[in-house]
């Protein structure tokens, strides 16, 4: 349980982090909250030659910027969970954060680390795709903004180029009346999810579905955006047991999760149907007629 030898460098700004990362090359890893990287190092599954600690690179709080919620990369999950700004602007993000690990993990882990790590079972990647959020990155050639739908590519792999670091995450503010739900299936409190479902629903004046966003997580190489499949069933119709179950069936058919110690692939696939149905019904119950659409 002792990591192999590594060098350590502290960055006090994002440009400095980028510079250190360029110098360190492929053997360098960025250390934010360390809640995934450090255990992997202790198990010697990761053996970086250089750790670039970015904890000194910025300390901003989540804030609203012209209809968007901007969450700085070093925002801890516990802050996400409790911040009044986040709960007001994007409550689903606070809800998703509350499912991450345990209280110790949530106090150290950061949103930037979580998206850069891109664990397919991560709560934040799943929510960000559902929210049509984006990731702000800084690299040798400057800043760019990558849509969450393009950012998460496959297992532990993102659209980050060499030398790039995540500096913030941004999502649209959830308008009042938009219903939302984030649910996940776990075998034990604090564990990685077997299935995650994030749903956002807008109803029209008649209480019919005006727009639906649906993402499932933990069941593939990256968050699976099933909004089109959900829309095909629900658009301009009512969201009830039958229609939500139909989306669940289609969602289940669209994924092929692998076997894991916590549950077989077949079980997780079956549970996608259950959790999609429950998430859609829960989001619809929160939505107000003539809401955000």
């Amino acid at each position: 349980m002792y990591p192999s030898l590594f060098d350590y460098a502290g960055a006090t700004s994002w440009p400095q982090a980028v510079q250190l990362l360029q110098e360190g090359g492929e053997e360098a890893k960025v250390l934010a909250g360390g809640q995934s990287l450090v255990p992997m190092m202790a198990l010697r599954l990761a053996t970086p030659a250089l750790l670039i600690d970015v904890n000194g690179a910025g300390d901003g709080e989540p804030r609203r910027e012209s209809g968007r919620l901007v969450v700085p990369a070093l925002t801890r999950h516990a802050t996400l969970q409790r911040s009044v700004v986040v709960r007001d602007a994007c409550p689903i993000l606070a809800e998703a954060a509350s499912w991450i690990g345990n209280i110790r993990v949530r106090h150290r882990g950061t949103i930037g680390g979580s998206v850069a790590h891109a664990d397919p079972a991560g709560e934040l990647p799943c929510s960000l795709v559902a929210l049509e959020g984006a990731v702000r990155v800084l690299g040798p050639s400057g800043e760019r903004i990558i849509a969450a739908s393009n950012f998460f590519q496959t297992y532990f792999t993102t659209a980050l180029e060499p030398g790039e670091v995540v500096t913030a995450v941004e999502v649209p503010v959830i308008a009042s009346g938009r219903g939302w739900a984030f649910l996940e299936l776990i075998r034990r409190v604090g564990d990685f999810a077997l299935v995650e479902a994030a749903a956002l629903i807008d109803l029209d004046d008649a209480g019919q579905c005006a727009r639906v966003r649906l993402t499932v997580g933990a069941v593939g190489e990256r968050p699976v955006d099933l909004s089109d499949e959900a829309g095909a069933v629900l658009q301009n119709g009512s969201i009830d047991e039958a229609s939500a179950a139909e989306v669940g069936r289609r969602a289940s058919a669209a994924v092929d999760p692998p076997d894991a110690v916590h549950g077989s692939g077949a079980y997780r696939r079956e549970m996608v149907a259950v959790y999609v149905r429950r998430a859609l019904l829960a989001a619809a119950a929160r939505a107000g007629r003539g809401g955000a659409a």
Partner: protein, 808 residues
């Protein structure tokens, strides 16, 4: 009352209130001052403050760090070991292999009856028999260097056929784990004519039940520090349940027993996992080879991968019953996976056999209980010790019998409960009062009470889920104390200091369950010394009389009785001094209490214990005493399966209501009660702690914990993949200790360490069956197994949706 003794720590002596139906109880009429009170002890406070020095907290100047190199294959021949890469790492002081071990054998004859001659190497020499088996051991100046060195010990293996399923291992052409054959032991017990009884029974229920490998998963890892002291004695300060392993360690080193000293630390849990040796021989070898202090701490990965586990059992039950509910015959066949080495498997399968018919008097019964070698990680002692797995078997059978006959589930049990004088499958008669019926009644009443008091919404806030609710309960019998044929003994030294404080020296180890604290309480009761003025020195082979390890729920029975006996004898030794000074004739007129000895009824005629101690010494009566408690012994005939087994048993009943999510298969425990008859409580708070902890550990076993081993390779080597429940996953357990049938421990106490872990699996299997109408027969009861059972029910077209629990 003396100053400093408040009402909480020493209430006025009152008779212990009788519980349960009068007439059948054994009552002594004794009254107690200290026994039966929930006094605290320094270990509580030290643990909460983080001040207690656990094994891993110890440091020595010049200390090295040890690490084991473990086999990466479950069955292979060792062709070559190259340690040059490891030795080249700076700071590495030793890399030892089998050839470096003076006597490369861990010997313990576990059955006690001369049945298992197979020797386990300390370090594998030419062959590895399970993944994780120690192959080499290294010592280096830092823990990181030791880990680097261990990674660079290169072992060339050649594949060797292995066998991973115990029933496959019994096939004639199965690969042999040991050349003596794969059948390690088979116990056979028979009473009456079960075949004939099953032929003539009104109904016969057959059941096959499977349990899994689980880990002890204590908080404190296997840890210790060793050094050679100024007298050349190899001294190990380690977390162990058994300091007597000092003798085995001496044999491994090839030195006299007196040249190895084991000091046992207060442990952060053992549960049987520190009953066999863990780090001790490896630490001793490194200390011996380097002549330096060495520390070794196993990582959680090592512990989960390679330390012994609980036996998976496959149990085949056939139970015959008459239409009135009387069980007339039963056959039980148990196959237990011993893994690659014997360890304590013979004893575990023995305990399983003895208790296989449960707390029921079955006139015709046959039990065959077999331990089989495989190339899986070895299995050995774990809380419940074979008597746990069978509860899942016999209590599932009882509910099935009730359903088959249309009797209530309490009625079928009450018709068959064993009573004092009733017989186990070994033909031995129970010789103490059996209060299992009272525990059943109490548990069910308490569950109704809990249900009536209202609780959280069934759906846990998720209104889109669909649930069914069910109730289950299970009764259990668990031995306490070692098998009688071991002729168990425990010794104790006790002295009264000149200031009237008391010293107890006894070899007992403290798992964290308050072993030492209970002994202080017993001493206080007899000698009248305030508990805070008693020092209990434990667990040091050089300084404390040996009292046997802390296992088999034996410690209160053995060391408790040893302390009680020693204290009474010391009191009797000092009494004549007191009688002569106080001018009374009969020692019975004396009362030892409140730090003094007084004449009963004569308020002004007393001596302080300090005065008594001094006066005794002046008269040449030394105020200390050494004594040995000898357990009840008995003979057991392996050939006929008849004879006496355990000194006594503890009985109990657990009951629960559950909600089953019909879509996900998840089980939520709505309420859980656990009731045991403990005869006499020395410290009620500790008794309740044992019951709650045992029930929670048993719930983990029932619902989620499993080390899944595929072809000899464990899939759970991290807690992330070992689903031990957390405080957020388990319900509040209502613990209800009863004091009804006095047992054989001090003041009539019965052991309570192991019994509470055993019933939960059967309770929850019965509750799930009650909820969904289908029975799960394989542990753990995972959501997937529940869904599979639900599919099976839909398949047969049964439809039994209900809104509430079935009354018991």
């Amino acid at each position: 009352m003396t100053a400093g003794v408040d009402a909480r720590t020493a209430p006025p002596a009152v008779p212990v209130a009788p519980v349960g139906p009068p007439g059948e109880l054994v009552r002594t009429g004794e009254t107690f001052r200290v026994v039966g009170t929930s006094i605290s002890h320094r270990d509580f406070e030290q643990k909460v403050r983080g001040e207690l020095s656990y094994a891993d907290d110890w440091r020595m100047p010049g200390m090295l760090y040890g690490r084991i190199v473990r086999a990466q294959l479950p069955s292979a021949l060792i062709e070559r070991i190259d340690r040059s890469g490891a030795l080249a790492i700076p700071g590495v002081h030793a890399v030892l292999t089998a050839a470096d071990v003076p006597r490369n054998a861990i010997t313990e004859e576990a059955s006690g009856l001369g049945m298992d001659p197979i020797v386990q190497p300390v370090l594998a020499a030419d062959r590895v028999r399970y993944q994780g088996e120690p192959v080499a051991v290294v010592a280096a100046e830092t823990a990181a260097a030791a880990e680097d060195a261990a990674d660079r010990v290169l072992v060339d293996y050649r594949d060797h056929p292995g066998v991973f399923d115990p029933e496959a291992a019994l096939a004639p052409d199965a690969p042999l784990v040991h050349r003596q054959g794969n059948r390690l032991v088979e116990w056979r017990l028979e009473r009456g004519d079960p075949d004939e009884a099953l032929r003539t029974a009104d109904a016969v229920v057959e059941g096959e039940y499977r349990t899994q490998f689980v880990d002890h998963a204590y908080m404190e890892p296997e840890a210790g520090v060793g050094w050679i002291d100024g007298d050349g004695v190899v001294t190990l300060r380690v977390a162990t349940q058994v300091i007597e392993h000092a003798r085995e360690i001496a044999q491994i080193l090839g030195v006299p027993h007196t040249k190895v000293r084991v000091i046992g630390t207060y442990m952060g849990g053992g549960f049987g996992g520190k009953e066999d040796m863990t780090i001790e021989p490896y630490l001793a070898l490194l200390v011996w080879a380097t002549r330096r202090p060495v520390k070794m701490v196993w990582s959680r990965q090592e512990s989960l991968l390679a330390r012994q586990k609980r036996h998976p059992f496959t149990m085949y039950y056939r139970t015959g019953v008459m239409s009135d509910g009387r069980i007339v015959g039963e056959t039980v066949r148990i196959v237990g996976d011993a893994g690659a080495y014997p360890l304590l498997s013979p004893r575990v399968l023995f305990a399983g056999a003895v208790t296989a018919a449960g707390p029921y008097d079955v006139p015709n019964v046959r039990v065959e209980s077999t331990a089989v070698f495989t190339n899986n990680v070895p299995t050995s002692a774990m809380r419940g010790f074979g008597a746990m797995q069978v509860v899942f078997g016999y209590e599932s059978q009882m509910d099935r019998l009730a359903d088959q006959l249309g009797l209530s589930r309490t009625e079928i049990r009450e018709r068959n409960f064993i009573k004092k004088g009733g017989q186990l499958p070994t033909h031995e008669q129970l010789d103490t009062y059996v209060a299992v019926r009272e525990t059943l009644q109490t548990a069910l009443e308490a569950l109704d009470e809990e249900a009536g008091s209202g609780d959280a919404a069934l759906d846990g806030g998720d209104t889109n889920a669909h649930y069914l609710v069910g109730r289950g309960f299970a009764c259990g019998i668990q031995p306490y104390g070692r098998s009688r044929f071991f002729a168990d003994r425990a010794s104790c030294w006790m002295g009264l200091e000149r200031d009237g404080s008391a010293v107890v020296r006894i070899g007992v180890t403290d798992l964290g369950a308050g072993q030492a604290a209970s002994l202080a309480q017993i001493t206080a009761e007899v000698l009248g010394v305030h508990p805070d003025r008693i020092s209990v020195h434990i667990a040091d082979t050089a300084l404390t009389p040996l009292s046997g390890g802390t296992f088999g729920t034996r410690q209160l029975y053995m060391s408790g009785n040893a302390v009680l006996k020693t204290a009474r004898e010391l009191r009797d030794k000092l009494a004549p001094v007191a009688t002569s000074l106080l001018g009374v004739d009969d020692p019975a007129e004396l009362e030892f209490a409140d730090d003094r000895v007084a004449v009963r009824g004569g308020a002004d005629r007393f001596l302080s214990l300090a005065e008594l101690s001094g006066a005794a010494e002046e008269r040449g009566v030394m105020p200390f005493h050494l004594s040995t408690f000898e357990a009840e012994t008995g003979h057991f005939d392996v050939r006929t399966g008849r004879g006496q087994t355990f000194p006594d048993f503890t009985f109990g009943t657990h009951a629960a209501d559950v909600a089953v999510d019909l879509e996900t298969g998840q089980i939520r425990i709505l309420r859980y009660v656990a009731c045991h008859d403990v005869g006499r409580m020395i410290n009620p708070q500790r008794v309740e702690g044992q019951i709650q902890g045992g029930a929670v550990q048993g719930i983990g076993y029932a619902l989620s914990e499993e080390i899944r081993i595929v072809e000899g390779i464990p899939e759970s080597s991290l807690f992330a993949d070992y689903l031990m429940p957390t405080s957020a996953d388990v319900p509040d357990v209502r613990a209800i200790p009863l004091e009804i049938g006095l047992g054989k421990g001090p003041f009539g106490a019965r052991g309570i360490g192991e019994p509470p872990i055993a019933p939960p699996a059967a309770v929850l299997a019965n509750a799930v069956a009650d909820a969904i109408g289908v029975r799960i027969t394989e542990l753990p009861i995972t959501p997937e197994r529940v869904l599979a059972a639900l599919r099976e029910r839909r398949g047969v077209g049964a439809d039994r949706e209900r809104g509430g629990p079935t009354p018991a």
